[in-house]
Structure formats: C-alpha cells, structure tokens
C-alpha cells in the first residue's frame, strides 16, 4: 500500500523497552505479607485490591450473563425455571452495575493514576481510601450472601411495589449490599475532589490537569451528589418491606412512581459515573498513541462537567410511559437531547486529534478505536430513545437493552480494558503480550457487536426485556446474540489469563515504554511507594509532544 521509501516500522513498546530492567525498589516489593496489603494506605495497592475484587465480580456477573444468553437460545423456557431466570438477569444487573461498572475505572485506574498524574504522593485521605475498599467488600459480601440465599428477582432497578411488597426473594440482603457499597463511592468521590483541588504539583494549573483527571473530577461530583439519593431510596424500600409503612406501595398509601423518580435521579447520573471515566481513558490513549496534544482540550474537559451537571436533569426520560404528564415528558426529552451534545463534542475532538498525528496501533489504541465506534452507536441510539414517540415503542424492549450495553460495555468496558493495557506496564512494570492482546481486542469487538446489534432489531420488533420465554419469531436474533456472547466471553477470558501471566513472566517495561507524555510516565515502572523521588514541577503544557526545550524535573 505505502509508497513511502522510509522503512515502515510498527515499532511499539517492545522495541522501546528493549534492555529495560525493573527498578530495585518499588511499591510492590517495598513490603510483603498479607498485612502489608490489607492494611495498606498506598493508593496504588488499594487500586490493585479493587482490581482484584471487581474482576471477581465481573466474572460472577459474566456467568449470569452467560446463563441468560443460554436460556434465550430457544423461545421456550427450557434451561431453567422462570424464577431462576429472573434471578439470573437480576444478579447479572446488580453485580455488573454496582459491583463492577460503577467502581471499574475510578476505583482501579483512578485510584492508581490520579495522584501520579497530579504529581502527588498519594490521595488526600489515604486511610479513607482504604476504608472505601472495605465498605465495597462488605457491600459485596452482602450481595454474595443474597446470592447464596437464593438471589434477588426484582431486576437491578428494584422497582416498587414489586420489590417492597411482592417479591419473596432476598431483596433486603441485596439492597443492604448496594446501600453499603454506595458509601464506598461517596468516599472515593470525596477523596478525588479534595486531591484534585489540593494536591496538584507545583505548576500544574487547572488547565494543565490531564483529561483523565478532569473526567474523574466530574465523576466524583456525581458520586457525592447522587449516591446518597439512591442510598435513601433503597433504605425506604427496606423500610417499607420490613415495617409495612406505605411509601411506594399504593395498597398502603404509597406511590410507586415516586420510587422511579428517586431511583433514576441517581441511576441516570450513574450511567455517566460509568462512562465519564472511560472518556477520560480514551482522551489519554488517543493523545498518547497519536503523540499529539488532544484537540480542543478545554472543550473536552468542560464537556465532562456539562455531562455531570445536565445528567442530573434527565432522569424523567426513564418514565415516558409511566404516567408522566406530556409536559414533563417534553422537558425531559429536550434535556436528554442537550446532554447528548457534550458527548458529540468529545467524539469530534477525539477524531480530530488523530489528524496529523503519529498513530500507532498498540492494543490500547485498538480499544480506543473500538470505543469510538461502539460509543458512537450507543450515543446515536440514545437519540432514538430521547425521541419520546420512538421511546414509547422501544421502552422496556431489547432496543433499550442494546442501547445501554453499547454505552456501558461498548463504551466503559472497552475503555477499561484499553486503560488496563495502557497502564499495565506502569502498574506491574511488565509488558503484556501484544499479539494475544490484539487478538482479544478483536474478539471483544466482534463478539460485542454480534451480541448486541441483533438486540436493536429484535427490540424494535417488540421483544420486551426480562422475558424468560418469547414468541418464536424472535429466535433468529436471539441465536445470533448468544453466539456473539460466546465470542465475547472468550475475548474477556484471554486478558485475565495473559495479564496474570505477564505480571510474573512479562518482559520489564521500563519507565515509559510507549514514549508518551504525562507525569505518570516520569517515574519508574512500577513507581516507588511515594510515587516520585522528587516532587515534579510542571512547566510544559499537557500533552506537549512538539520538540520544545527539554525541561528536566529537578
């Protein structure tokens, strides 16, 4: 293809890292024993504690997804009973949303990278950071307990009055788990906000803060403002269930629609909790693998804040067919269109960043490309469901299921995997195997589309979600979807294996294997316990790749 005379090389981390050795002392070998991990206040170790725990939850949630997809292979309810199926999709949702997606990027990569990117020694409140992990684990144990006790069958949305009065499953245990885990989010958000305000290195003005940090700042705002609302809501469900006080159940004087207002007031912003950190990862990765500053830095940064703010005003679009007045439907529809604009701005800026870049195709960049395509489709189908007339038809069908999986899995999970690969050398000091990683990125992309694209079609055809059995004319789309899920599953298992392998057997990465900018790359891989031997002083603009006079730290 290329008529260029210069030898084309796909040089990547492997060439740059040639001859690299592990630093003698770093945060991983500074101390040993289980106490040094379970009582650590090092943000990097806490990030790894989270990484390990959410991977366990991801695996669990994935097993339930597999069970759901297997059941839906045929129209009849032949693999499991209706009650089992209802518990399977509920546990899939609860685990994936509250115990994987919400903590995924912030609690692992965010915890690990925020202080490094800001040139700080740790987060502002290291002990609170550890506390938040313990709260997460306690909440998680409740979720597992509800699972062992038979599971929850309300759907992850806990809609009342089914959840508060009718369901005879382990709603209370599951709800307590979600409640406790919420506090872990609140504490993480608090920590990130204070750290970003107070602990930036000398010279790092707000307009030099990396976009990953900006997006985590916006996420943290939602954490601390939104999470208390869902905590209260869940508490009210538990209260009604135990004390029989009418809050949501109309037979004792409650209002079921009130539940939906309270629930979505948090849970719609929670979608942005899931996707904003992913946007931060993508901004970093695209800039790094184009070796070029991000296009329109301030637009990308402020669009994160705009999403966080407007995202609080759109909850009613989940209730277009819940008896809302046409006039509130109008307001929520127009606000939903407005919240789409900042995402469009980001997408165009990411695309423009590639222009005249020096683009290489290592695994993180492949995930970023995948993210762009899938997030684009997730976002565009958001325009469908914001159009009230179309939403009336597709609400609670597989169209909506496909739409939010394109955002949460196609967006967040692609970004999470891309970010894990990008910073893996920094986290472990080792290189991941590039060939295997590219193969799994491809599998994930293909498997994802095959799983979820048919769901748009079967959704518009009218197949409602949460159906254990379905009319036979929908089968062909469900078979495609299940086939895709199988490929997707393989694509997820590979990284779990080769990343674990590379931790022990991978080649040493060196400080900056991708030869990119950012304070996190100016320390050793893995970093020392307090991140930097000397506090860095920031003089360059963020992402300045152009040859400027080299200003060395110190």
């Amino acid at each position: 293809m290329s008529p260029e005379i210069t030898p084309v090389t796909t040089a990547g981390a492997h060439i740059l890292a040639r001859g690299a050795v592990m630093p003698a002392r770093h945060y991983l070998n500074e101390s040993g024993g289980w106490k040094s991990w379970l009582l650590t206040t090092d943000h990097k170790r806490i990030g790894l504690l989270y990484l390990f725990s959410i991977t366990v939850f991801f695996f669990l949630g994935g097993l339930f997804a597999l069970a759901v997809r297997l059941e839906l292979l045929t129209p009849a309810g032949d693999l499991m009973s209706a009650d089992m199926y209802n518990r399977a999709f509920t546990m899939h949702g609860i685990i994936m949303v509250f115990f994987f997606l919400i903590p995924s990027i912030p609690a692992t990569l965010g915890n690990f990278l925020l202080p490094l990117m800001l040139g700080a020694k740790d987060l502002a409140f290291p002990r609170i950071n550890l506390l938040s992990w313990y709260l997460f684990i306690i909440g998680g144990l409740f979720a597992v307990a509800s699972l062992i006790g038979g599971g929850v069958d309300t759907g992850w949305t806990f809609y009342a009055p089914y959840s508060s009065m009718a369901s005879n499953s382990r709603v209370l245990t599951g709800a307590v788990g979600v409640f406790i885990t919420g506090f872990s989010s609140i504490l993480t958000g608090l920590n990130f906000i204070v750290t970003t305000h107070r602990m930036r290195a000398p010279g790092m003005t707000w307009m030099k803060v990396p976009l990953f940090v900006w997006s985590h700042y916006a996420t943290s705002l939602i954490f601390i403002l939104g999470t208390p609302v869902v905590a209260i809501t869940i508490l009210l469900v538990a209260y009604e269930r135990v004390m029989r006080v009418g809050i949501f159940d109309p037979s004792i004087g409650g209002d079921p629609v009130l539940f939906q207002h309270l629930f979505w007031f948090y849970s719609h912003p929670a979608v942005y909790i899931m996707v904003l950190p992913g946007m931060g990862v993508i901004s970093e990765v695209i800039s790094a693998f184009s070796r070029k500053p991000i296009f329109g830095y301030s637009f990308v940064a402020f669009s994160s804040l705009a999403i966080a703010v407007i995202g609080f005003l759109v909850w009613g679009h989940h209730m277009f067919v819940a008896g809302e007045t046409p006039y509130s439907a109008l307001m929520f529809s127009i606000l939903s269109y407005l919240v789409a604009i900042p995402s469009a701005i980001k997408t165009f800026n990411w695309t423009a960043t590639l222009y005249k870049g020096s683009i290489s195709y290592e695994t993180p960049m492949l995930y970023a490309f995948g993210f762009l395509g899938l997030f684009l489709m997730g976002g565009l189908t958001g325009l469908f469901v914001a159009a009230i007339a179309v939403d009336v038809h597709v609400h609670d069908t597989y169209f909506v299921v496909a739409h939010f999986h394109y955002i949460m899995v196609g967006g967040t999970l692609m970004a999470y995997l891309g970010g894990i690969h990008y910073w893996w050398p920094k986290i472990t000091g080792k290189l991941y195997p590039e060939g295997w990683a590219k193969l799994s990125a491809l599998l994930v992309f293909v498997g994802f589309n095959l799983t979820f694209f048919p769901q748009f079609i079967v959704g518009y055809l009218g197949m409602p979600r949460r159906y254990h059995m379905y009319p036979p004319e929908f089968q062909v789309w469900n078979v495609l979807s299940t086939a895709g899920a199988t490929i997707l599953g393989v694509g997820y298992v590979f990284p779990m294996v080769y990343l674990a392998w590379s931790w022990k057997y991978g080649k040493p990465a060196g400080d900056n294997p991708f030869n990119v900018k950012g304070l996190e790359w100016e320390t050793t891989s893995p970093p020392p316990t307090f991140n930097f031997d000397r506090t860095p002083v920031v003089t360059d603009a963020t992402y300045s790749y152009a040859p400027q006079k080299e200003v060395n730290v110190g």
């Binding site: 090389t9 069958d153 089914y162 269109y337 518009y460 009319p471």
Partner: protein, 349 residues
Amino acid sequence: MQAGTPLFPVQASTMASRVDNLYFFLIALSAFFTVLIVALVAYFAVKYRRRRVDEIGAPIHGSLALELVWTGIPLILAMVLFVWGASVYFALARPPAETLDIYAVGKQWMWKFQHREGQREINTLHVPANVPVRMIITAEDVLHSLYIPSFRVKMDAIPGRYTQLWFTATRTGEYHVFCAEYCGTNHSGMIGSVYVMEPEQYQAWLGGGGAPQGASLAQTGEQLFTQLACVTCHTGGPTQRGPALNGLLGSTVTLEGGQSVTATPAYVRESILEPMAKVVAGYPPIMPTFQGQVSEEQILALTEYIKSLPAQGGGAHGGAAPAGAPAGTQPAVPDGGTAVPPGSQQPQR
C-alpha cells in the same frame, strides 16, 4: 404475519407509520454520522500511521471554528429530533374526543380486558378496525405495562392510578399484546393477542359468543351498587347521608374545607377505597372504606354505573331501578363505535 424475517413490526395502527418514519430518519442520521466518523478515523489512522519510532504528531491544539461547527450542527439536529419526536408523541398521548373505551387491568400474570357492553376477556382483546379505541389501564398488584408493538403503543399499568393509551387499528388480524414492565415470576407469560376485526364483525362479537353474562359493565356496576349498599346513602332520596352521584364524573366537587376537585375515575376510586381522603362539603365523614371488598374491575363497573346515571342532579331518579333501565342515557355503541357520552370522563394520568 410477514414473510421472511422482518426488521420492524407490522404497521397496524394510524400511528405506526408516523413512529416508523421518525425511526427511519433516525437510522439514516445515525448511519450518516457513523460512516462519517468511522471513515475519518480509518483514513487518519492509515494516513498518519507512525513511520519512525521517534515520530511525533503535529502540535495542533484545537480550533474554535470547528468546535462551534460540531457543537452547532448536532444541536440543531437534536432540536429537530426533539420537535419531531414530541409532535408524534403528542398525537400518541392525546386521544380524540370520541373514543371507544375498553378497560385493562393488569394482574400477576394476566391481562383482563373489560368492554363496556359487558364482555370480559383474559389475554385476548377484540377491537374494531378504523375506530379510535382508548384503553383505560390500571393494575391490581404491581406495575405492568400494556404493550402492542404493531400499534407502537405502550403504557404502564400502575396500581392505584388510571393511565390510558389510544390507537386506531388499521389492519384486521392478530397481533401481540405484551406486558413490558417486569412483574415477577411469569412476566413473560403475561402475553396475549389483539384481534382487530371489521366494525360489523366486532358488533357481532359483542352481541354474540363472547358475552356469557349479557349484562353491560354499567349494569354490573348497578348490581354492585345495591349489593354493597351504596344505594342506601347515595340515591338522593330521603335517607340520603351521602351526595347524589348523578352527573358526577367530569363535574367539579367542593370538598369539606373549601377545596375543589374534578371528579375523575381516579377520584371515584379513591372515594370508594379511602372515603376520608376527600369528603364532600356538607356531608358527614361517615362512609366506611371498601378496601379489600371490591376488586379493581368492580370499581370500574361502579364507575361506569355512576357515569351512566342521568345528569340532572339531586332528583329522586331511579338509581336503584331494576337492571337494564338506565333511562336511555347509556348509548348503545353505534356503528361508528363511539361509546362515550360527551363530556363524561377524563381519567387522571
């Protein structure tokens, strides 16, 4: 219903094509932007691929003009979508003045449909073609959602409230009706069929095999009115301890304490189940609750009966007269199928 593997459901109502046109426009718009972005990304990724290990990209930081363009154009397109989506929605949300009313009650795990003429159906629904039909929906236990994909309509059934949807079916045939809001164990079994019939056939069906009991909904309500002893206090006779109910629905009722409310079916329902919630001015608060004694369907029957009472208030009319004699105020469903006495009811959303 369709040969091969369809990509969208049959268009069987007047609204279906309007919803689909918007859907197709959205698909075209999405396809355009997807192709645009994917093509740009692919083109840039190939054209500007890294050629030397130490190569760096051009120091471009942004462009205000471009930012304005790609903020402005999506904003304009979004507003077009908003207006289009909202206008079709307003047509969906507002039934015409004259409709054929059918009641739907969701219950774990079945749809119960009640025609005003008395026919009751479970998980099947017969409607005439080319007649605006309004479904008045409630639920007995938990949330459900009445969904007929071929008509592009859906509305939640909410316990304790009345919601509504309407459609005019355009094609005779059998279509799916689903419960779209998760409601427990047999949620996916809460499905059935809508049969769209020619109006004459529908009339025949109404009068024929489908109606074992023969009493209209209002007549059933009238019997209940006597059985439950509502008649003792609400007839307007000398023993009157409660307000007369003639012409109640749609009228404005003044309450104890000076407030006033419009009498909707939801108001009637509340007054039966929670009599103390809104006490009519001038009457003692002595009515007992009928919570647990009447089902949602019986409440609907009572409401229909009250609706059927002649409008002249206060007179000692034949409220407790034998069945079948509501004084000609209950119009038989004419061929056109409009069964609502003008100005009768406006269910609360």
